[in-house]
């Protein structure tokens, strides 16, 4: 009983730790002042200005778009790559894995500049595509990193057994391997999305005129002071996400109840 309470308290403490800055941001989105230094009264004017600010809205659009696309693409590439790499052995495997880790351990600026030089070398025009390719490049290694331990954990003979029983390799893949490693795929996609949504350096140097994302807009405001319109945006994004989360949670509980299971 005591351990249950301790566990709950620990979890809540950690959640408080993670959400404290978010709460600060939400509170200051209603602050009638440009500065985060002091409270000057309640106002909704930043929300009003947010909807007139086409730059920030455009940045939001691109940010979410690129994050979704790169999460999906890198998860697909990463899943197949991880399964393939898991089947390799020896030096080849080691080399590939270590190369795979380079975008993880390199500082953003090095990845950014080296990709930029690559695109320049090849002569591609910078734009949406170069930004997307760069995002996928740094996301896939994390997806692979997330899935490999699950593949290790999985019983190797499951797939073989399935094929012995007459399944085609594709079928074995779809129905046996992938469900086993699903938590890894899910984790990988989540991490990819998280990394992509917050990237500044790599995006800044690998984009073209007319493309932007929220990180770039926010970092660019650093010299002048971040416009509180951004706090309003953050608050709205946060509220939307929490509402979505609650909604999905309710739906899941309902569908489990319907199937006669226990929640």
């Amino acid at each position: 009983m005591v351990s249950r309470i301790i566990k709950k308290m620990y979890l809540w403490l950690m959640l408080l730790f993670l959400y404290a800055p978010i709460i600060v941001l939400i509170v200051f989105s209603f602050n009638d002042s440009r500065s985060r230094g002091k409270w000057n009264g309640f106002t909704l004017r930043w929300y009003a200005e947010l909807f007139k600010d086409s730059n920030v809205l455009k940045a939001l659009y691109y940010t979410i778009g690129i994050a979704l696309l790169s999460a999906i693409i890198s998860t697909i590439i990463g899943t197949f790559a991880a399964i393939g790499i898991h089947g390799l052995n020896g030096i080849g495997k080691k080399v590939i894995l270590n190369l795979n880790y380079l975008p993880v351990l390199n500082p953003d600026i090095v990845t950014a500049v080296s990709l930029m030089t690559l695109y320049k070398f090849v002569g591609i025009e910078f734009g949406f595509i170069t930004m997307l390719l760069s995002h996928v490049t740094f996301c896939v290694p994390y997806v692979i990193l997330s899935i490999l331990p699950k593949l290790k954990q999985m019983n190797n003979h499951l797939a073989e057994a399935a094929m012995d029983l007459g399944a085609t390799p594709m079928y074995a893949l779809r129905k046996v391997v992938i469900p086993e490693i699903m938590p890894g795929i899910f984790t990988g996609a989540l991490i990819a999305f998280t990394l992509s949504i917050d990237d500044f350096v790599i995006s800044f140097f690998n984009k073209g005129a007319g493309v932007t994302n929220l990180s770039i807009e926010i970092y660019s405001m650093a010299r002048r002071g971040i416009n509180p319109v951004i706090n309003a945006l953050t608050t709205l994004m946060f509220v939307v996400l929490i509402v979505m989360l609650i909604y999905i949670n309710r739906k899941q509980e309902k569908s489990i109840k319907k199937k006669g299971g226990v929640i």
């Binding site: 007319g210 660019s220 405001m221």
Partner: protein
Amino acid sequence: MRRGLKITLLILLISAISFTAIGCNDDKPTLNVYNWGDYIDPDVIKDFEEEFNVKVNYNTFATNEDMYVSIAKGGTSYDVAFPSDYMIERMINEGLLAEINKDNIPNMKNIGEEYLDLDFDPGNKYSVPYMWGTLGIIYNKTMVDDVVDSWDILWNEKYKGQILMLDSQRDSIGVSLKRLGYSMNTRDMNELEEAKNELIKQKPLVYAYVGDDVKQLMVAEEAALAVVWAGDAVAMIRENENLEYVYPKEGTNIWFDNMVIPKNAKNKELAEEFINFLNRPDIAARNVEYIGYSTPNVEAQKLLPEEIRNSQVAYPSKEKLEDTEIFVDMKDMLSIYDELWMEIKAER
């Protein structure tokens, strides 16, 4: 699982289509602007778009150096950019800028003479002034009882842990040089070493080396003294009346952000129209009221509210500006500066 996959592919398809579609709405000419974040009144842009029936793509950058790498790499083009003085000097020397056709910018006559024909762009062949400002000391009247008129106060033991310096190599080393009576653009190693040693001596007194958070910190009274730019000081004083701004007697840095047209700009004429538009007195006045820094457009200055026009912070008298220097591009000295800065930071 099958449904999930279908939905995923659908999202992919829709996103791909909509993103390529977004790029394809150019029946109107487009102007690619490359500016600091939040450095122009959004309504001014909307007015320009309406009056000239064009679309403006507003791209942002965080530092001069980021902008420089971005433009120098090529592969994409911007029509107007807003670099600072020393960066303009570098870009001119490297042939990255196009000469401006002043016949297309008649409103340049509204700009005060004192802001033109400066060392980094003699004759203003490549750039037109946009905003300017100075570096100084902001302090909290209730926390500092000495007279503040010199950079020395930042080395005063009494204020240990209450001093904020800028986390910027040139600004902080520049302050130290000025305090010792040297030029902010010196190449003399002895002078630089001396400045470095003074900064190392100062380090135990410094609360933190900060960037834009200096505004938040001073308004919240977390520190007593800080080095800031005049434009920021105006905003801070508005939030907290205990704050005051001074120009140190040893002199300080004056900076300019000018508008330039990169060589590979696709819409040079439209860019010049834009620069001309921004220099209309009423437009420039609106813009500078939004941004809060100082404008070089004297006709616009006349339209500003009296308290700002006469503010010694935003528009100081000529005597105060006598000992100011503009940063010069340091070129080969940059790695020396970098090593000095590293030694200062590495002291523990």
